[in-house]
């Protein structure tokens, strides 16, 4: 993508500040121009960008310029931390009712934002993680086949989720029948999927109000498409002013949009972002992580989540050793191989790769190809001498031919392995020079 990480952009402006004692309004001016542009390109709302920049500037002014840390990184850190703050605490799970009545969740939003899919994914999540009995309520009586879609998605969940369907065309009364069923049959949770609607469609907005009147809805979640532009804030504000909204679900975060709307909406409505949709499968819904979102908006890849996920699943000691070596700048081909192997163990490689900045997104078929590639990489690295593994830079064409012959591969493949090593170590270097990420990784 044409986006450039904010830290890279700011890198170009370092010179101006280097050698000065503190950050001042004047020496930061160019940087903040760049930050502003980056935020606007990430679809953060114009108004919010202005406020945000003013506040961050305030905080940054007077900070000492440290020897070891580049001013650009300092600014990135301040911007990032502020953004993370604004995005919320991240601990936003749904509160379930304790009074024996079913907890009712209603999905609302513009057309095509992902309400139906999110409703089913939530059902899956609550069944799996919270061991709740969930009923889906099909309230989209307008869009052709919306009901079939919900029903089929419910059946795709494991265990399967039932969908309440009615011939009735009066939406509030379907909602109350669904609620009645949920009560009688002791469901823990009822998730209502409503039709997509424009926030200016009075008739349909009234319909939502009417649902909230006949059923005690505990959570009303507004789905927001991560690709949405500047108008997102108007839409969210308008929904929230007409009906009671309790939180947001951000969808299609498996795309490559920056998702700046998350920041804008959170800032202007104060509504917590509760969940993130990250794919088309029923398991592709996660709790929202403000730190990852801040990284994403600023274009820093999702390397932190990667590290977290690695630490969750990988043999702790091994991971510690590798990351220590990584941090010390001792990263060589053997390390790369061991990381690749660990990643492969993590299961869906595609998901992991998604979190590595610059890495391609993978699909099942490609994951298979990737594990094949992993095997090739392994034989190639194994055909190298110890020195070559430690200093891959020394591998020139004659060595390449030897390694290729030794591993039964081609010199081109050898080059590719070395290239991915170089990219990876470059990324690591960037991470090391980024105090915020360093801090986080070490804290772990």
């Amino acid at each position: 993508m044409a986006f450039e990480a904010l830290s890279d952009r700011l890198g170009r402006l370092f010179k101006k500040i280097r050698g000065q004692a503190t950050l001042t309004e004047r020496n930061m001016d160019d940087m903040f121009q760049e930050v502003r542009k980056a935020l606007l390109e990430a679809d953060v709302n114009y108004e919010v960008v202005s406020q945000f920049i003013a506040e961050v500037k305030e905080e940054a002014i007077g900070e000492k310029v440290l020897d070891k840390v580049s001013p650009g990184d300092m600014v990135v850190k301040i911007v990032h931390d502020k953004m993370e703050d604004l995005l919320g605490s991240g601990d936003n799970d749904i509160c379930f009712r304790m009074d024996g009545k079913p907890t009712v969740i209603m999905m609302v939003g513009l057309q095509g934002t992902g309400k139906t899919t999110s409703a089913a994914k939530l059902a899956q999540l609550f069944e799996k993680k919270n061991h709740k009995k969930v009923l889906l309520g099909a309230l989209d009586v307008y869009r052709p086949a919306a009901i079939e879609q919900l029903k089929n998605l419910g059946l795709k969940c494991e265990p399967q989720v039932e969908t309440f369907i009615s011939d009735n065309k009066d939406v509030p009364s379907i909602a109350s029948s669904a609620y009645l069923k949920a009560c009688e049959e002791k469901y823990d949770i009822l998730i209502l999927d409503t039709a997509g609607r424009l926030e200016i469609d009075e008739r349909l907005m009234d319909e939502l109000k009417a649902i909230q009147e006949v059923v005690s809805v505990d959570e009303t979640l507004l789905t927001v498409d991560a690709m949405v532009g500047q108008n997102a804030t108007n839409v969210a504000l308008s929904f929230a002013s007409q009906i009671k909204v309790t939180g947001l679900v951000m969808t299609k975060l498996d795309g490559d949009s920056r998702g700046g709307a998350a920041l804008s909406i959170k800032r202007l409505t104060g509504l917590p972002i509760k969940y993130a949709g990250v794919g088309e499968k029923m398991n592709d819904l996660e709790n929202f992580h403000p730190d990852r979102m801040a990284d994403r908006i600023l274009g820093m890849g999702d390397i932190v989540s990667l590290v977290e996920e690695m630490q969750e699943k990988i043999d702790e000691k091994q991971a510690e050793k590798t990351s220590r070596r990584m941090m010390n700048g001792q990263f060589d081909l053997t390390d790369m191989l061991s990381i690749m192997k660990q990643m492969n163990k993590l299961g869906p490689l595609g998901k992991i790769m998604k979190m590595v900045p610059g890495a391609p997104n993978l699909n099942d078929e490609q994951v298979e190809q990737a594990s094949y590639a992993l095997k090739r990489t392994e034989v190639i690295i194994n055909s190298m001498t110890r020195d070559e593994r430690r200093k891959p830079e020394m591998i020139k064409s004659s060595r390449k031919i030897r390694i290729a012959n030794g591993s039964g591969t081609t010199p081109k493949e050898v080059t590719k392995v070395i290239e991915s090593y170089l990219t990876m170590s470059k990324q690591l270097k960037q991470m090391r020079s980024n105090p915020m990420m360093l801090r986080r990784m070490i804290r772990k």
Binding site: L40, Y46, L110, A146, E148, Q149, Q230, N231, D256
Partner: protein, 339 residues
Amino acid sequence: MGLLKFLKEKFTKKKENTSEVTEEVIEEEKVEERYQAGLDKSRNGFTERLKKLAIRTKKIDTSYFDELERILIEADVGVDLSLELVKETYDESKERGLDNPEEINDLLVDKMFIGYANEGGSFQTELKRAQEGPTIIFICGVNGSGKTTTVAKLAKKYKDRGDKVLLVAADTFRAGAIEQLEFWANKVGVDIISKANSDPSSLCYDAIKKAQNENYDIVFIDTAGRLQNKVSLMDELRKIVRVIQKLLPSAPQESLLVLDANTGQNGIDQAKIFKEAVNLSGIIITKMDGTSKGGIILAIRKELNLPVRYIGLGEKMEDLEEFDLEKYLYALLVDSKEE
């Protein structure tokens, strides 16, 4: 003469000349009304602010241009293009000594118009037709952008013209997608070919065969929504096109990207990557009945030279209009209530 004035004149003249009320004119006016109604909210936002701005501003200074910049950015035109448009407007207004806000606004609109028009290509919105045999129209886009509804709207349009239309339910992946298109086929009264859980390219192969054998005039292929960064799903699209071309080398006559007007800067990426994959010939922008302005189409036009062909203005099968740049800008910038 400012474009705005030009447009105003053009539109008012048209109405004066139509003393003879033909059916065509009524239809034309109906279309315009719907267009206007659909764009009402976008227009109100944009024009009102421009107008308020013009009223409020006695003296033209840089803050006036900052405000213009803001209006463009908030319409999703994008930072780079917005800055460029405003800078050009600023420079030229300085050069020509313009100090009247209305003139400056006109100048800005001129710039947008010329910028779009100068990208070359024709203003033709009409879909290209095959010399002989069936015309194949390929519809793609990200999830939820409005592809299926747009296919229904196009089908209706062409059926009404007397074409024999075939719909292809090539979204064999998403739950309920086939039923959704079947509903529309039924409602519009056209034929559909579908096969659950099948490979979309083999379904398209069958569809083209069917279209050839049974003399269909035009075939609309509704593909599954996909995010442009999913490599294998983009490859799947390429494969569909390859398979189509085995039977009909000059097909598809049109590959259209369906783009949601709510889309922000990611829209450029969408257009770019879909274009690389299936050689897009144009864009259909949907949900223009909402409050989003769809300004990203200007940036897409500039970066990728892709013209907008149709515009979606609602959820019904009639809610599709040919894109008309003049009308688009007119509707965006001129407040009808004022006249």
